[in-house]
Chain length 303, copies 2
């Protein structure tokens, strides 16, 4: 049986995940919860972490490595950013130590792109990227969809540049606060629906029309008996198609590495197929654990 | 002195405007209020109209012509839609009569585009269009910016096609409900600001990146000391630039007719100049009155 080696923590804005990992990556203990940075800032970061360590039955002598919003300004301790172009191995070298009940506890920095025209920041996804990097050779696009989707151009193990697309957050506010808000309880049709597929294709081909194409979710219901469930799939497809248009602009023939799980993976896979983009998928959970493991091996070389 | 000829009403979702007009367009009385369709549906449409007639000191024998959301489903009386391609003169012919204290009172229909791929609806702006049409020869784009901006392709006095862009509503929900929401009381920099102009140009040139360019309103504040006032101008410019990109796609060299007033006119004029698009501006208030007057002359030929 594998011996426990270190504690890996992915501390997001609104979620917390902790694993007790062996040196070979075997999961020996786990704890998850909704106590991300927003609630931890109120409860106390140490208290939240202590509670999850107990749930996961984590041995008390293991070092702890944390990525995500715990390192943001207003988080547990600010961990700064590594600037692009950046070698992923710079990230563990720049981790900051935080005082936590006598354990060796470190928080990883984020990535930033400090250009005048395309400033951008990332915090948390860089460990998924580190985990996915082992499967990537040469130049490739890595896509990590979510509230703020990240499109990263990797080049020989380094981050050349990246862009954030507000796809998930726009979907959320459009379907909750606009004239396109559906009746409560409406569930979007899935990635196989015509509404999703057509919307992806149309906004990929004519991204300038996306703020108009969104409105068709309403006029389609007035004029063409579009169902609310299909209207949601239309909105989702419109935003994802625009994201792919922007992410792949000027780089024809590129293939992408999709880091995602579950429904999110299914939506993006179907969208990539719709616009004829080759891809491979890496499970997001696996990627972040692998990334934290690679980073831990750089920090604590005895692991 | 001109004799009063008829009552013109523009009844929107959240605003109400009424004019007592002479046959030559002179304004002889006026009343405005926030009691649009949403509040009138609760108070009662007759009551709201009666109140404004009193405020404007309207003679009791004049006919009344209404455009806007009073004719929507859920409004005072459903007035349907005229389908594109449509002659503007079809609109007054299809006005519906509504019973109102013995007066001749009519509600104008909206316009709809009943195509599978680009269904669209308009209700209210078609009278601005009618009013602007007198200044338009041949083929032209008419742009009526707002919560739901309308881009209309006019051809020899007929509406060939149109598209709605959710520019104003997206600006509203993004700046109120997303991570880009500024501190309370922040006022956006104006159309002359670098933040607005650069954002218009960038999203016009690369509309696929608009959902990424929006995020730069945040990362610019984190990395480049972008001020909240400039971030708002950046969001506005991003959405307007994308709208112009979509509205002018495939029609190089077209000039546009802008129907707008005040700050909205200033923003779009600067945006058109930024992307090198020739335009003329027609005041929105004047346009809707002129439109209602033309429509009234078709309905009541003795006017």
């Amino acid at each position: 049986m594998s011996a426990p080696s270190f504690i890996a923590v992915d501390w997001g804005t609104s979620s917390f995940r902790l694993w007790v990992l062996a040196a070979d990556g075997t999961i020996l203990g786990e704890s998850r919860g909704p106590d991300g940075m927003l609630s931890a800032a109120k409860i106390g970061f140490s208290i939240v972490l202590q509670r999850h360590l107990k749930t996961a039955q984590a041995p008390s002598n293991l070092p702890i490595l944390i990525c995500g919003m715990a390192g943001a300004r207003g988080g547990w301790m600010e961990a700064g950013y590594v600037e692009t172009p950046a070698a992923l191995t710079d990230l563990p070298l720049r981790a900051v130590e935080v005082s936590f009940s006598g354990r060796d506890t470190r928080i990883l920095p984020g990535l930033c792109q400090r250009t005048e025209s395309r400033p951008d920041v990332m915090r948390g996804e860089e460990m998924q990227l580190f985990g996915a990097a082992a499967s990537i050779a040469g130049r490739a696009h890595v896509v990590m969809p979510g509230t703020h989707s990240k499109w990263v151009v990797m080049d020989e193990g380094s981050v050349a540049s990246f862009s954030t697309y507000m796809t998930g957050e726009l979907y959320d506010i459009i379907t909750r606060h606009s004239i396109l808000t559906p009746p409560e309880g409406t569930i979007a049709e899935g990635p196989e629906s015509a509404a999703f597929i057509n919307a992806v294709r149309d906004s990929f081909e004519e991204p300038g029309r996306i703020t108009s194409q969104l409105f068709a979710a309403r006029s389609g219901q007035i004029l063409n008996r579009l169902k609310p469930e299909a209207a949601l799939a239309h909105i989702s497809g419109t935003l994802i198609g625009a994201e792919i248009s922007g992410g792949t602009a000027g780089s024809h023939g590129t293939s992408v590495v999709l880091v995602a799980s579950g429904r999110m993976a299914a939506l993006y896979e179907k969208a990539f197929e719709t616009v004829g983009l080759a891809y491979q998928t890496i499970d997001a959970d696996t990627a972040v654990r692998r990334g934290l493991q690679s980073a831990a091996a750089h920090i604590w070389q005895h692991l």
